[in-house]
């Protein structure tokens, strides 16, 4: 009974370390262009760190099953008659519950507060979705169909509406998403952190993320982040031009 | 014991099969409750407790009373069969079916009036047509069941020791009644 703890424990530790090393060194995450993106990415990293030991434990047991517990001589004899162990079950329950509670609090509520909390904003941009295009309406009434221009370092509230079916407003580089629901106005907030355009990163685009019909895949719109000054000139020109 | 006696032990065992049937029916009824629950919650979700002025309250109350009364006659039909009184069984079943028919006529009038005042294209109308329609469908299936047991009962299929068919249909009928007891206040009172 006792002797399996040691190899499985070693395997567990080494798998955990390996996985955490991988998480720390090989990021799978795309570039961040907003404060919200940073919150989301930190949450994602934290979850990866927490998930590593859980995965490692199961993997360690699986590995040792093959190496240590295989019925090598094909004796087909029965194993030990262990029905359970109250202490282990209780301990497991407590640890997994704590883990779950922690995850709810830390990336959960903390992230939620940072992404969806605080209903204040410097600018409001309204997006109208319809099959299969977005139209952008700025606070001064100017509208655009070809791109979304966003000021950097300013908190923007996006009001999202739909004229026909469900769509979803998603800017992957900002990590924000909210559905466009016919009959409702939904809101999302984002603060862009640096200037750039879709030429720098494909994720600087609005992508419709709710299946809305044949044109769903191509219901996208480029996003350009500019300085707040440029933004104001842009919308003024837009208004004058339109 | 051979295989065959074992099989018949299960399926003709007079104690076993009614018990399983009864349990099955209760599960079925519970399952139906969830169906009605889905539609009832849809009504509150779409229209809150809004209710138009034009509802025909008197007619609704009248058919509610008729339907509730039909539950009593259905019960009497079952009790008659339990005492082997075939004639009274036939009488009470017919009365139940008759009341169900009256109920359905009332419902038809209501639906007609509804199309004038709150047609299906409005939120309340949608909820109204859906709930009334769903319930009417259950009333009709219940009536078909009652017809079948009436027919079988007249041909002498049931007796005081063997009337599961009657019991099942009557229990279902009580359920149809109960569903109305929830739908009526949902549509007319709240």
């Amino acid at each position: 009974m006792r002797k399996s703890w040691i190899p499985v424990g070693i395997l567990w530790l080494s798998y955990s370390v390996l996985m955490m090393f991988a998480v720390a060194n090989f990021s799978w995450l795309p570039a961040e262009w907003s404060e919200e993106a940073h919150v989301v990415d930190s949450a994602m990293l934290l979850l990866q760190y927490l998930g590593a030991p859980v995965m490692a434990l199961v993997l360690a047991v699986m590995t040792w099953s093959v190496i240590g517990w295989r019925d090598k001589g094909a004796t087909r004899q029965d194993g030990e008659n262990i029905h359970g162990h109250r202490g282990i079950v209780t301990g497991w329950l407590i640890i997994t519950s704590l883990l779950a509670i922690y995850v709810v609090i830390n990336p959960g509520f903390v992230g939620l507060a940072e992404i969806r909390g605080e209903p204040s904003s410097d600018h409001v941009i309204t997006l109208h979705g319809q099959q299969f295009a977005w139209s952008v309406e700025y606070e001064n009434g100017a509208t655009a169909l070809d791109e979304l221009v966003v000021p950097a370092d300013a908190r923007v509230r996006y009001d999202v509406m739909s004229a026909d079916v469900l769509h979803s407003f998603w800017i992957p580089a900002f990590r924000i998403k909210i559905d466009a629901v016919p009959g409702l106005t939904t809101q999302a907030y984002a603060t862009a952190t640096r200037e750039g355009s879709m030429n720098d990163d494909v994720n600087l685009r609005i992508q419709c993320a709710e299946l809305c019909g044949p044109g769903h895949a191509r219901m996208a719109l480029p996003v350009r982040v500019v300085s707040e000054q440029e933004f104001l000139t842009y919308i003024d020109n837009l208004k004058a031009g339109g | 014991m051979t295989a065959d006696t074992m099989h018949s032990e299960y399926h003709q065992d007079t104690a076993f099969q009614p018990r399983a049937n009864r349990l099955g029916l209760w599960f079925f009824i519970m399952s139906e409750c969830f169906l009605f629950g889905a539609f009832l919650s849809a009504r509150y979700f779409t229209t809150g407790t809004f209710r138009p002025e034009e509802l025909n309250q008197k007619l609704a109350l009248a058919i509610t009373i008729v339907l509730l009364a039909s539950s009593i006659s259905a019960y009497l039909a079952e009790a008659s069969m339990a005492h082997n009184e075939r004639k009274r069984f036939a009488l009470w079943t017919t009365v139940t079916i008759g009341m169900a028919g009256i109920f359905l006529i009332g419902v038809a009038i209501e639906l007609y009036e509804a199309t004038l005042h709150y047609p299906p294209g409005t939120p309340y109308g949608s909820a109204y047509f859906m709930l009334i329609g769903l319930h009417a469908f259950h009333v009709i299936t219940g009536m078909v069941g009652l017809f079948i047991v009436l027919f079988l009962g007249m041909r002498g299929r049931f007796g005081s020791d063997n009337y599961w068919g009657v019991e099942g249909v009557v229990k279902y009928w009580h359920f149809v009644d109960l569903a109305w007891v929830l739908i009526y206040p949902t549509l007319y009172l709240f």
Binding site: S65, G79, I82, P107, L211 | A20, F27, G121
Partner: protein, 609 residues
């Protein structure tokens, strides 16, 4: 075959007369949706009457004694047989065929997605194929293990001769072919392109194929509900003497828990689709953009469809636990805790549905509670994992194909579960929702959890069902192949999702090409593995060596009777005298047959070695 032919004739007649009737009354065309509904309903009734409903039920309603198929041999699989073993096989073969059709559609999708731009299909057809793939596969996952093995194994495991309602059982099965025909026939009416979720209002305004989707899925709901009800009543009333709740084999417990869930929530999918149907044909306005409330559909739908994912995976838990104890030669670790976990999953799974709606625009205050409850569900699921680990611990593992597939399951479901935690956290889900990360998550849980369990169960019970052994080498190769290929297919899709590729798109930015190409090639390799699977089973069912009653030295009742079991399963009523998983206890016995027949005696000796 005679009955199936009669069913087909009556179904076609029913369909035509339904359509004709509506056309005459309404004066609209034959593809008018009302006509399709009337046709479908009459076709369904005609089909059921034709395949044996007349004899099994109709005769009784006119006062005659009912009749059911009593044929033996191949014929009974095409008839209204009430033998739960025949019905189990009928489910199994039907659903594995559907799995292959669904898999074939996945292959088309992966070929299209191998590079950006449009190749083999256009954008709309792509969405239609995704929707078809999704719903066919969901049907397989919901009914696969429980329909095939639940029917076949549960009555034997509890020591019963059949289900509590054998005729109802047959009726439920015969409702299944119309579901498949309805879904696969939808392209004739323009198919459905709203995904398996069929969110309104898109599902109100799209092509008429949607109406067939709705009807088929409502029928499928009926299959689920009737099947679940039957299992519940069977387990409650038909356990053999001595089969207390504490001695119930774990697969039976899992089937019981699944059924509890299925018969209470399935109505909601039907209800949601009834509302959509009414909006389409009856002029109601539940989902119209100006009056309706867009979120109504999502709430009702997920109230079913979240629990549905547990309907898919709970029988899988049962299968894997059963396998692990058998092949580790050890008692199930923490049996009572596992049962408690199964039941608490049932309870919790009906209160977490809105975690699919974190970005739907529902009120923000709902995020918190649904996040908490969703995370809570990972705790009982963790107990299942603990039990598997504890059972493997210090076991004497016998690595036959079922255990190899079970190990694949363990790895896959672990990844699926942990990525579920990423989705359950609102902060991360806001980014990940409706991306390929979700696609990868649910393939890891559904394919990894439900389909792998189906595969493992197929290998495990194959010798019992056919009486013959599958080819072990081919089985092992398949087990390893399918696990590796599956992981190679879906790991890159996690990356694609995180990096900004959304789901249900036939075209995508060139930046995601690498991952997709890799996934597509792996998917084809994955698809090919199924040829080995099907080939092995077909060949072995006819040519395989005789397996004997108990090739695994297992202890539950189904292994104590001959393979395949006789018509009424047992030659004498078994009495249960001990726990089913007392491996390693000298002289312990699970069941005892008062009328011992010679072959039953032999087995008991083998078991207690």
């Amino acid at each position: 075959m005679k009955y199936v032919a009669r069913g087909l004739v009556l179904a076609v007649t029913g369909y035509l007369s339904g359509v004709a009737l509506t056309v005459i009354i309404n004066g609209n065309g034959a593809t008018d949706e009302l006509a399709v509904i009337a046709g479908y309903v009459l076709a369904l009734i005609g089909w059921l009457a034709g395949v044996g409903g007349i004899e099994a039920f109709g005769r009784q309603w006119i006062g005659k004694t009912p009749k059911v198929s009593e044929s033996q041999g191949w014929k009974r699989y095409f008839e209204f047989s009430i033998d739960h073993k025949v019905i189990g096989i009928q489910y199994g073969v039907t659903l594995i065929s559907v799995l292959l059709i669904g898999g074939l559609s996945a292959m088309i999708m992966r070929i299209e997605l191998a590079s950006p731009g449009m190749g083999v299909v256009d954008l709309d057809d792509f969405n239609k194929i995704v929707s078809m793939h999704g719903i066919l596969m969901v049907a397989v996952a919901v009914a696969g293990v429980i329909g095939a093995f639940g029917n076949y194994v549960i009555p034997i495991q509890i020591g019963a001769a059949d289900m509590a309602f054998p005729r109802l059982n047959a009726l439920a099965y015969w409702l299944l072919p119309p579901v498949a025909v309805g879904l696969l026939g939808a392209p004739f009416l323009g198919a459905f392109n709203a995904g398996w979720t069929s969110y309104a209002p898109l599902s109100v305004t799209n092509d008429s194929g949607q109406i067939l989707f709705n009807l088929a899925i409502i029928t499928f709901g009926l299959v689920s509900i009737l099947g679940a009800l039957n299992i519940l009543v069977t387990v409650i009333t038909m356990r053999a003497p001595g089969m207390t709740w504490g001695r119930l084999p774990i697969f039976t417990w899992a089937g019981f828990a699944t059924s509890l869930l299925a018969f209470t929530v399935t109505q909601f999918f039907a209800a949601a689709l009834v509302l959509v149907t009414m909006d389409r044909v009856a002029g109601t306005a539940f989902f119209s953009p100006d009056v309706g409330t867009g979120l109504l559909y999502e709430h009702i739908f997920w109230f079913y469809s979240h629990p549905a994912v547990y309907i898919m995976v709970l029988p899988g838990f049962g299968v894997i636990l059963e396998l692990v104890t058998t092949f580790a030669r050890k008692p199930l670790f923490a049996y009572k805790a596992v049962v408690a976990a199964l039941l608490s999953i049932v309870g919790l799974s009906v209160v977490v549905w809105a975690h699919h709606m974190f970005t739907s625009g529902m009120a923000d205050f709902l995020h918190g509670p649904f996040m908490i409850l969703t995370e809570a569900i990972s705790i009982p699921t963790g107990i299942i994992f603990l039990s598997i680990i504890g059972t493997l611990w210090q076991g004497r593992l016998w690595f036959r194909t079922p255990l190899i597939v079970a190990f694949g399951w363990l790895f896959n479901f672990l990844i699926g579960g942990i990525t579920g935690i990423f989705l359950a956290d609102v902060a991360t889900d806001i980014h990940l929702h409706d991306t390929y990360f979700v696609v990868a998550h649910f393939h890891y849980t559904i394919v990894g959890g439900a389909i792998f369990a189906l595969l493992a169960a197929t290998f495990y019970w194959f010798p019992k069902i056919t009486g013959r052994m599958y080819n072990e080498t081919a089985g092992r190769i398949f087990g390893i192949w399918v696990t590796l290929a599956f992981n190679a297919t879906f790991i890159p899709l996690f990356w694609a999702g995180m990096n900004g590729m959304n789901r249900r798109v036939g075209d995508y930015p060139a930046a995601f090409e690498g991952a997709n190409k890799f996934a597509s090639v792996s998917a084809l390799i994955l698809g090919a593995s199924f040829l080995l699977f099907v080939g092995n089973l077909l060949y072995s069912a006819i040519r395989g060596p005789k397996a004997g009653p108990n090739p695994w030295n297992a202890r539950t009742l189904e292994w104590l009777v001959e393979s395949p079991p006789s018509q009424h399963n047992f030659h004498s009523q078994p009495r249960i005298v001990g726990h089913p998983y007392d491996y390693g206890v000298e002289g312990s016995i699970h069941a005892h047959f008062p009328d011992e027949e010679p072959h039953a005696e032999e087995q008991r000796e083998e078991v207690t070695v």
